[in-house]
C-alpha cells in the first residue's frame, strides 16, 4: 500500500520540487468584501423571500412564547396526530417549553439522553413524524438554515422524519455564506455542519421535480 510519504513525494516531484512540510498560506489577490443588506428586519425579510421561492414555509412570530403552540399547530395540520416527534436535546429548545406543548398535544417526544443507546435513538427518530431543531445560523441570500452537530442533538433529527421544524432567531441571520464560513473557521469544527435550503428534491425522473426524496419533504422555519 502506498504510504503518505510516497504519495506526497510523487506529487511534489511532478510539481518540480521536493515536498513541502506545510502549504504556502493562501491570500487571495482581492479579499471578499462584506455584501448585502444589514440589519435584522431586512435580513429576515430576504431570508423569508428566498426560502419561500424554494418551497420552504416561514412563520414569523414576535416572541418565544408563540413557538411551542405554533409547533403543535403545524403538526396538527400535517396530520401527525398521536405520532412521535423527535427533537434536539439542546438548551436552545429546552427554554421554549416544547416538550410540554408536544405532550399535551399527544405526541410522544424522542430526544437523546447523554450516554443513551445511539442506535435505538436513530430507530426511534426514523419512526417520528417530525423533527424539531434550533438553527445555529441562517443565510439570507439563499434561504439557508445552518445546523451543527453537538453532543445530544442528533443529526438524524433533521433528516429522517418527513417534516422538519426549525426555530430561528432573526439575530442569527447572516446575509452571505462567507460570514458563516468565517465564523466556523474561528472555532473548532463540529463533526457535521448542515446547510439546508428548502425541502429535499430531485429531477431524476424525466426531469420532473420530486419533493421529499431522502430528506424531509416539508420544511417549516419559525422565525422569532
Amino acid at each position: 500500500m502506498t504510504t503518505e510519504q510516497e504519495f506526497l513525494s510523487h506529487v511534489a516531484r511532478r510539481l518540480g520540487r521536493s515536498p513541502e512540510p506545510a502549504p504556502a498560506p493562501f491570500r487571495p489577490s482581492r479579499p471578499v468584501g462584506p455584501v448585502g443588506p444589514k440589519g435584522g428586519y431586512a435580513l429576515a425579510d430576504r431570508f423569508q423571500q428566498e426560502l419561500e421561492k424554494i418551497s420552504g414555509v416561514v412563520h414569523r412570530v414576535k416572541s418565544e412564547g408563540e413557538v411551542a403552540p405554533l409547533i403543535a399547530r403545524i403538526l396538527k395540520e400535517a396530520g401527525a396526530a398521536g405520532k412521535p416527534v423527535a427533537r434536539w436535546a439542546d438548551p436552545a429548545l429546552d427554554a421554549l417549553g416544547i416538550d410540554q406543548a408536544l405532550t399535551a398535544a399527544g405526541h410522544p417526544v424522542v430526544a437523546f439522553q447523554t450516554g443513551g443507546d445511539g442506535r435505538a435513538f436513530v430507530e426511534a427518530v426514523e419512526k417520528a413524524a417530525a423533527g424539531v431543531v434550533a438553527c445555529d445560523a441562517a443565510i439570507a441570500e439563499t434561504g439557508t438554515i445552518v445546523m451543527t452537530t453537538a453532543l445530544t442533538r442528533g443529526r438524524t433529527v433533521s433528516l429522517l422524519p418527513p417534516l422538519l421544524i426549525a426555530v430561528l432567531r432573526k439575530e442569527q441571520i447572516r446575509y452571505s455564506s462567507v460570514d458563516v464560513f468565517q465564523a466556523l473557521a474561528s472555532g473548532a469544527m463540529p463533526s457535521q455542519v448542515i446547510f439546508k435550503s428548502g425541502p429535499s428534491r430531485s429531477s431524476d425522473i424525466e426531469n420532473d421535480l420530486s419533493i421529499g426524496v431522502h430528506g424531509p419533504g416539508a420544511l417549516h422555519v419559525i422565525l422569532i
Partner: protein, 486 residues
C-alpha cells in the same frame, strides 16, 4: 484499432436512438437555460452589491483558489490528512484504482461489512468500485435517485448530474416494479415514494456508507457534500462506518474559499443558487454523539491525476464536475453520455479521460468536438478545454495516430499552400480538376456531389459549391484597375 471501431459503434448507436437524443437535448437545453438565467441573476445581484462577485469575478477568484491549491497540492494534502486524523478519521493513499478498491475491501473485511450504500461519487465509477465489490459478494446500493435507476438497469450514466435522463417513467416504473414484486404507478410522486422507502431501508441496514467529496477543506480536514436529495446526509449519518473517496485535486485551502466555490457550483450545474443540502463533515462522530459514523476513512486517490500535474494540461484538474460543459456542448447534445464510453463524458471527458487513462486507448474522444468553444465559455473555472482538444490532437498526430488519407490530404495542403505560386496554380485548376464531380442545377449554376475518399463524408449528406473558374486572386488585377490601391 478495436477501440476506434467500438467508439464509432457507440456514436452510431447514440445517433440512431431518437428517444435518447430527445431526452439528452431536453435535459441539456433545460440545464443550459437554467444556468444562463442563474448567472444573469448573479450578475444583477452583484451589480446591486448583493453578491460576493459577478460571474467573471467569481471565476477569477475560483481559478486563483484552485491553481494555488494545485501548486501546493502536496502541502495541502498533508494538512488535510493531519486534520482528518486529529478529528478521529483514518487517511489512506491510493496510487491507482486497484489500490483504492483494495483499501475499501480491506476496511469492509475488517468490519465484517457486507452491505454498503453509496452517495453519488464519480470517482467511485472511475475506479469501477461497484463491480469490484460485487465480484467479492458484497452489496453496494446507489442512493442517488438517478444512479439507483441506472444501477437497476445495469447501465452507465448518460449525464454527470442527472444520470438517468434517458429513462422514461414507464421504464423506471418497470425497474422499481421488479424490486417491489408488483406493478407500480408511473407518476413521479409514487415512484419517488417507492424509492424513498426502499432506499431508506437500505440506509438503516447498511454496514458502510460510501461517499465522494465535492470539496475537501485542507485547513480543517472537512469533507463537503453537495446534494439536493439528502442522500449525502443519510450516507454520513446512519451507517456505522463511512468511507469517502476523494480525487486528490478536490482540495481547497480554507473554509471561506467554499463561499466562492459554492457560489459557482450549483448555479453552473442546475441553475440553483444553492443545493438543498451542503454538508461539511469533519471526522467521525464525537464521543457521546448519538449518530453519525463511528469510523471515518478518507481515501485520497491519484489514478493518473499526478501525471496531469506539472503538464500543460494542469488546468483540467481545477474542474469541479458541474456539468456545464456538457450542457453547452453541441456535440454532447446530439450524443448523450453513453456514446463517449467513459466515466466522464462531454468536453471534460474528452480531455480528462485520455489524460487519465491513455491517449491511444481513447483517441476517438478528442475527435468528438467541433471546436466551438462553448465549453470554455460556460466553465466556472474557465478551463481551456477547446485548446486542450487541439493539443491532444497534436499529440495523436505526432504519434502517427491519424487516418492516413486525412494525413496525406493535410500534408499536401500544407505543401501546396505554404507556397503562394503553387497555391495559385492549384486554385486556378480547381474548377477543371473537379469536373468529374460537377453537376448542373436547373439555372445552370454548378455544384459538386459524390466526392471520393475522405471528401465522401461531406457529400454523403451535403452538396458542395463548385470551385470558381476564376478564383478571387485572378480577378484582383481587374478590380485594381477599377480603383484598388497599389
Amino acid at each position: 484499432m478495436a477501440a476506434r471501431a467500438e467508439a464509432l459503434e457507440r456514436v452510431r448507436k447514440a445517433l440512431g436512438d431518437q428517444h435518447l437524443r430527445g431526452a439528452v437535448r431536453y435535459t441539456a437545453e433545460n440545464l443550459y437555460m437554467k444556468r444562463k438565467a442563474a448567472m444573469a441573476d448573479l450578475d444583477a445581484q452583484a451589480a446591486r452589491g448583493d453578491a460576493i462577485g459577478n460571474f467573471e469575478e467569481l471565476r477569477a477568484r475560483a481559478r486563483e483558489i484552485k491553481l494555488h491549491t494545485l501548486a501546493h497540492l502536496d502541502g495541502y494534502l498533508k494538512q488535510a490528512a493531519d486534520q482528518i486524523r486529529k478529528n478521529g478519521g483514518v487517511v489512506h493513499w491510493a496510487r491507482d484504482a486497484e489500490e483504492a478498491n483494495q483499501i475499501v475491501l480491506e476496511i469492509c473485511r475488517k468490519r465484517g461489512a457486507r452491505k454498503l450504500i453509496k452517495s453519488k461519487s464519480m470517482v467511485s465509477e472511475e475506479i469501477h468500485l461497484n463491480q469490484r465489490l460485487e465480484a467479492e459478494g458484497l452489496e453496494i446500493v446507489e442512493s442517488d435517485l438517478g444512479e439507483y435507476i441506472i444501477q437497476l438497469a445495469h447501465e452507465t450514466p448518460a449525464h454527470i448530474v442527472i444520470p438517468a435522463i434517458h429513462k422514461t417513467r414507464r421504464q423506471i416504473a418497470d425497474l422499481f416494479g421488479a424490486v417491489a414484486g408488483h406493478e407500480l404507478p408511473t407518476d413521479t410522486k409514487s415512484l419517488t415514494a417507492f424509492a424513498r422507502a426502499t432506499l431508506r431501508h437500505k440506509f438503516m441496514t447498511a454496514d458502510v456508507g460510501v461517499t465522494g467529496a465535492n470539496f475537501v477543506v485542507a485547513e480543517t480536514g472537512t469533507i463537503c457534500l453537495v446534494t439536493n436529495e439528502g442522500n449525502g446526509r443519510l450516507t454520513t449519518s446512519v451507517p456505522p462506518c463511512q468511507i469517502t473517496l476523494v480525487g486528490m485535486e478536490k482540495l481547497v485551502p480554507r473554509l471561506e474559499d467554499l463561499a466562492v466555490m459554492m457560489a459557482l457550483l450549483p448555479r453552473s450545474a442546475t441553475g440553483q443558487k444553492i443545493t438543498t443540502y451542503f454538508n461539511m463533515i469533519t471526522g467521525p462522530r464525537r464521543p457521546g454523539e448519538p449518530d453519525g459514523p463511528e469510523e471515518l476513512h478518507v481515501i485520497f486517490l491519484d489514478n493518473g491525476r499526478s501525471q496531469i500535474l506539472g503538464s500543460q494540461y494542469e488546468e483540467v484538474l481545477t474542474c469541479i464536475r458541474c456539468g456545464a460543459c456538457l450542457n453547452s456542448c453541441p456535440v454532447y447534445r446530439q450524443l448523450g453520455g453513453h456514446a463517449y464510453g467513459s466515466t466522464y463524458p462531454g468536453p471534460i471527458g474528452s480531455v480528462l479521460t485520455p489524460l487519465l487513462q491513455g491517449l491511444e486507448e481513447w483517441e476517438e474522444l478528442p475527435q468528438l468536438c467541433s471546436l466551438c468553444g462553448a465549453c470554455h465559455e460556460n466553465c466556472p473555472l474557465g478551463i481551456h478545454l477547446h485548446e486542450y482538444i487541439i493539443q491532444l490532437r497534436g499529440e495523436l498526430v505526432a504519434r502517427g495516430r491519424e487516418n492516413p488519407l486525412m494525413r496525406t490530404a493535410l500534408k499536401l495542403v500544407h505543401f501546396a499552400w505554404t507556397r503562394p505560386g503553387v497555391y495559385r496554380f492549384v486554385a486556378g485548376s480547381a474548377h477543371l480538376g473537379t469536373k468529374p464531380f460537377t453537376r448542373k442545377r436547373k439555372d445552370g449554376s454548378e455544384y459538386l456531389d459524390n466526392l471520393p475518399s475522405i471528401a465522401a463524408g461531406w457529400t454523403m449528406s451535403r452538396t458542395m459549391p463548385a470551385p470558381a473558374r476564376r478564383p478571387f486572386h485572378q480577378r484582383w488585377a481587374e478590380l485594381e484597375r477599377q480603383g484598388g490601391a497599389k
